[in-house]
Amino acid sequence: MSHANKPELIINGKRTDGRDFNELRQLKIEAGILKNAAGSAYLEWGNNKVLAAVYGPREVVPKHLTDSTKAIVKCRYSMAPFSSLSEHGRSGPNRRATEISKVIKEVFENVIILNDYPGSEIDIFIEILQGDGGTRTAGITAAAVALASAGIAIRDLVYAVSAAKIGENLVIDPHMLEDNYSDADMPVAVSPKNKEILLLQMDGGYTREELKKAFEMIFTAGEKITEVQKDSIRKLYESVSK
């Protein structure tokens, strides 16, 4: 993508927020913060602030969607009207949110052991309170913790992060400005146990070599993200046992 008023995104080998190319923004996750939900998580990732909540397993609504062999998963990704720097966002699902909700739902259909909950529904809600690039990947990373804290049977603790291209450089975890003016962007969700890809979207322009390098950067960053996720769940149970 070509942009006429493209700002300088890399100055003296550093990014606009001082990060190295392979450096993640600061990531904090707190599990179990909403009392009514079966599981929940609050995540801050750079300037992103995200709430994820899981309800269920519970009765399927509407009833005719019930699958007697396994649970069905529903997902709602939503950006709050006050979440972006630009004007007041319209409430209700738009095309972007509908698509993102769909691909996130498909990630968790893979990870949840659906056959353990026949005839029921599991709801995943992701609310973006403040967005600064990478909200879908932040949402997935938070929702994985919310699911784990709900005690729902999952195969793996999935994480998600994006790799972008700025000029000739590949950078991990782009913030909003980088996202807006990047030459390519690829959000990916990974099952860390077997490094299988559960979500893959991409647009811009990657060569085949850049694609391979982008995946490597994502896997390396994923190790750190997984650690923060695990810590948040550990802390939840430590606080219970006190």
Binding site: M1, R95, I197, M202, G204, R208
Partner: protein, 262 residues
């Protein structure tokens, strides 16, 4: 999944174990493609694509609008998709389903990321820009709407003419200037059934698939990708499919160009 789908899925998997498909074609072979352009007189451009038994129709309408405040010198381009109830017993009337929205956005993203339409080129003056609305109508469903859709939208755009705009009035009947298309993108959609991956799934194969991957290229770069459904893919799978996608570029581009030369 219905019990009929389940039985057929088992059969499809069995066939694939022996490298065979329901139709006599290879694992990485497209069904027959037929493109017809300018099938509609009132649209600025149109194309109907048959991909096996899948039939889609793309229509382009251009209207003059005020530019958005954040892009004062750019026009607009938007692809929408309708899974019409005439196309399949499974489709219902009502607002666009998540699947229709995903289809529209994936086709849209490929064309946008491929810089096929220069939005600056759609600017008329300070108060006016062209908005290009492309509507993708699915007329008959038999799998792989993504590739059929991309072919139809690319072909419809390539044959579109910009209406005359004079004295605040659009004259749809008076148009001679073609819409400029700067780049050609093509898409390849794969599906994973069991542990086998095949190109251009038909409807029965899509009923059996666990994962779908659409890769859009312009011959030199990967322009867009979209994975769908709950299955997973390894990096080796993805890299392999990217190679196949590039190898199909010339064949698909030729299909679009042959229409233009007619």
């Amino acid at each position: 999944m219905s019990s009929m789908d389940l039985i057929r899925s088992g059969y499809i998997k069995e066939l694939l174990e022996n490298g065979k498909r329901l139709e006599p074609r290879g694992i990485n072979e497209f069904r027959q493609i037929a493109i017809k352009c300018n099938v509609l007189g009132n649209a600025e451009g149109s194309a109907q694509v048959d991909l096996g038994n899948t039939r889609v129709l793309a229509g382009v309408k251009m209207v003059v609008e005020e530019p958005h405040s954040d892009t004062p010198d750019e026009g607009n381009f938007i692809v929408s998709a309708e899974l019409l109830p005439i196309a399949s017993a499974e489709y219902e009337t009502g607002p666009p389903s998540p699947s229709a929205i995903e289809l529209a956005r994936v086709v849209d993203r490929g064309i946008r990321a491929g810089n096929c339409i220069d939005l600056k080129n759609l600017s008329i003056d300070k108060e006016h820009v062209w908005s290009v609305y492309v509507d993708l109508y699915v007329l008959n469903y038999d799998g792989n709407l993504f590739d059929a859709g991309t072919l139809a939208v690319m072909s419809a755009l390539a044959t579109s003419k910009i209406p005359k705009f004079e004295n605040e009035e659009i004259k749809h009947t008076e148009s001679d200037e073609p819409l400029r298309v700067d780049n050609t993108i093509t898409s390849t959609t794969f599906c994973k059934i069991g542990n086998k991956i095949v190109l251009d799934p038909n409807g029965a194969e899509e009923a059996a698939m666990s994962t779908r991957l659409t890769i859009t290229t312009d011959g030199s770069c990967i322009r867009a990708m979209q994975k769908g459904l709950s299955g997973s893919l390894s990096i080796e799978d993805i890299n392999n499919l990217v190679e196949i996608s590039f190898s199909k570029y010339d064949e698909l581009k030729k299909q679009i160009q042959s229409v233009l030369n007619r």
